[in-house]
Point group: C2
């Protein structure tokens, strides 16, 4: 306890945090300035504009909440729901379940559209629920379920929400920067994300965005927002467009330097290029996993490139494999959550960590550890398959 902490040099291919670009770590460590410094106010404006680009939105109320993605989720629900409201919540994984928790803690009722873990949200089931609950004011769903690696059709779900006069609320923690996401074109009313997934920034901030319709609802509330820290009526006065910023809480200055740099990296690459990169490396990883006979549990049409849920073969101790990868290769992959605990691994290919070196390292390390664990695998087949896939372009 008397010594500085020097972390091991891991490769982060779990469900997040993902590897942070050294350029972002360097930005993080620049000298701290005050949260009302004119230079910092200018930085805030730039972060807002860069987030608008990342979310593909013109929403004025677009900013990073000063806490992790879970707080961004809570910010959306506590601002948009009042006691007695009703929200339809799609649950096809751990984070849909967390949405339900949030709705209920706001004193609202959550109508659950449950879906088997590992499957995309069923549009018909959602429409049935919207028809059955005309008093619902919100449809909430997870775009990219980090617990299962499933992509749901956010565009179609948002359109359904509007058809039944509900706000469309989207968890984009794992989707932002990794797969197509267009807040304005799809008509999303409120969205939150995290910084430690496909933005490859450090964990601890949660970008959010609210449509004009959502802002009108926040401004027209009957009850006060139950959280002072997350009350957008107050936060707007600090992050808002007015020249006179009023103090709300002390912003996390240095993590915002890092987020700014991460968003610059994304804009330099270009959103579409980043989406394509995630798809390409996912294809190579999938080819390598297939060569080892390891199944991806999600149907090909709904797989997230950035989060690959891999079935654990019979007779293999999933925790022992993860421990060996960490100890022998400094490689972190994730375990299953909830109903999938013990049954899957989660291999992330997020942001800066989504590159050819990591794909090949992961495949060769996983193959070696599985052979150690007694599986009969042809040595080198996984890497060869991935390389062959890369050559297809």
């Amino acid at each position: 306890m008397n010594a500085s902490f020097h972390p091991p040099a891991r490769t982060l291919m779990g469900p997040g945090p993902s590897d942070v670009n050294p350029r972002i770590l360097e930005a993080l460590s620049r000298p701290t300035i005050g949260h009302l410094d004119p230079a910092f106010i200018q930085l805030m404006d730039e972060i807002k504009a860069l987030l608008q680009y990342a979310f593909q939105t013109q929403n004025a109320l677009t900013l990073p909440v000063s806490a992790p993605g879970s707080a961004g989720m809570e910010a959306v629900f506590v601002n948009l729901l009042e006691r007695g409201d009703k929200a339809i919540v799609c649950v096809n994984g751990a984070f849909g379940g967390r949405m339900k928790e949030n709705v209920e803690r706001c004193g609202a009722t959550a109508v659950i559209v449950a879906q088997e873990w590992g499957k995309a949200i069923d549009l018909n089931a959602v429409e049935d629920a919207l028809k059955a609950h005309p008093d619902a004011c919100m449809l909430a769903f997870v775009h990219a379920e980090t617990s299962t690696g499933v992509r749901s059709d956010a565009q179609a779900l948002a359109a359904l929400a509007h058809r039944y006069d509900c706000l469309a609320v989207v968890d984009a923690v794992t989707s932002l920067g990794g797969i197509a996401l267009e807040v304005d074109a799809w008509g999303i009313d409120a969205i939150y994300s995290g910084t430690q997934k496909c933005l490859s920034c450090i964990p601890g901030l949660s970008p959010v965005s609210f449509s004009e319709r959502a802002v009108a609802r926040i401004r027209g509330r009957q009850q006060r927002v139950q959280s002072w820290f997350l009350d957008m009526n107050l936060i707007m006065d600090y992050w808002g467009g007015s020249s006179r910023r009023s103090y709300h809480h002390t912003a996390p200055i240095n993590p915002l330097y890092a987020l700014h740099e991460a968003l610059l990296c994304l804009r330099e690459e270009g959103l579409e290029n980043a989406w394509q990169r995630h798809a390409n490396h996912h294809n190579a990883l999938a080819a390598g996993l297939h060569a080892m006979g390891l199944p991806l549990i999600v149907d090909a049409g709904h797989r997230l490139p950035q989060l690959n849920a891999v079935g654990v073969p019979d007779g293999i101790d999933e925790a022992a494999v993860r421990a060996a990868l960490l100890q022998q290769y400094d490689l972190e992959i994730g375990a299953g959550l909830g109903t999938l605990a013990g049954k899957i691994w989660r291999i992330g290919l997020m942001g800066y960590a989504c590159n050819r070196r990591n794909v090949l390292q992961c495949l060769s390390a996983l193959e070696a550890v599985l052979i150690q664990q007694g599986m009969a695998l042809p040595q080198g087949a996984a890497v060869a398959a991935a390389n062959a896939r890369y050559q297809q372009g």
Copy 2:
């Protein structure tokens, strides 16, 4: 917007953030690892132990909330209060007012003991309120009011709370590391602080600690905690002592590296030495301000060494002085808040920023700017007075 952000090299002598030790910035920028990595779990244990030292407590539930001090405040109230509860809240500045907001947003009733801004909390008034409201379950107060520079008698207030069977809840955002604070010896039940004041870490985390009595109340709640993100029943399972840590939210990994380093710095110096250092440099600053005829608005017996509220002389434009200090000297001092806006400056001497170089720089820059603004001051008198005070030891 296309370029990396390079902050100006400020000296931070406002109400926080304070200058961050470069050693802490370097720790901040070390490679990110996973929040369930065994190496990170060990770091969490070390942070807990170091926070127990800083707070002078054996409380098992001692940890940093993953968000700024305002969220730490909210964590204390949402966990300890249920709808219908009654809390006595002392308000002698902006942050007492924020406590009231938090109590009310929990659906509880806040009984206010109001005190003029700039004065310490009156023990007799508090005892009257405790007598008048035997159904109150909590007495909440600010130890070091950042908005005014006042120290209240936390030990006596906590004792009063216990005499009337109330939990003693303390805001120590600006006191931790700067003035004497002994959580166990004083019988404090719940306390929160910030990292960007006398710990000289970056803003964004909030150390909290709960006594066994407070934990029993949290575990015995009738209603769920209204915040999922701040629910200590869940956070205990991640930060708690069990070997099997369960995931709650993704911890802000790198800021926790920085907090660990900041707490190491504090322990290396020693708490008592840090308190004495703050007192010594405050004395020198006060001598210099006195030499310029600038009044400290708080009585000598209740002044915080780390936050000096200075009356703005008649005819001086307080904002113009701050702007000149920032532009000409890269020196940040703070403005007044609330009823003191426009009437005071707030000069911080916090943590790493509390040193002789900063005291002398601040005095000489302030003197020069006041002379520019038309005040007749003997050149060099402020620095000479401070140096004379230093020589007294």
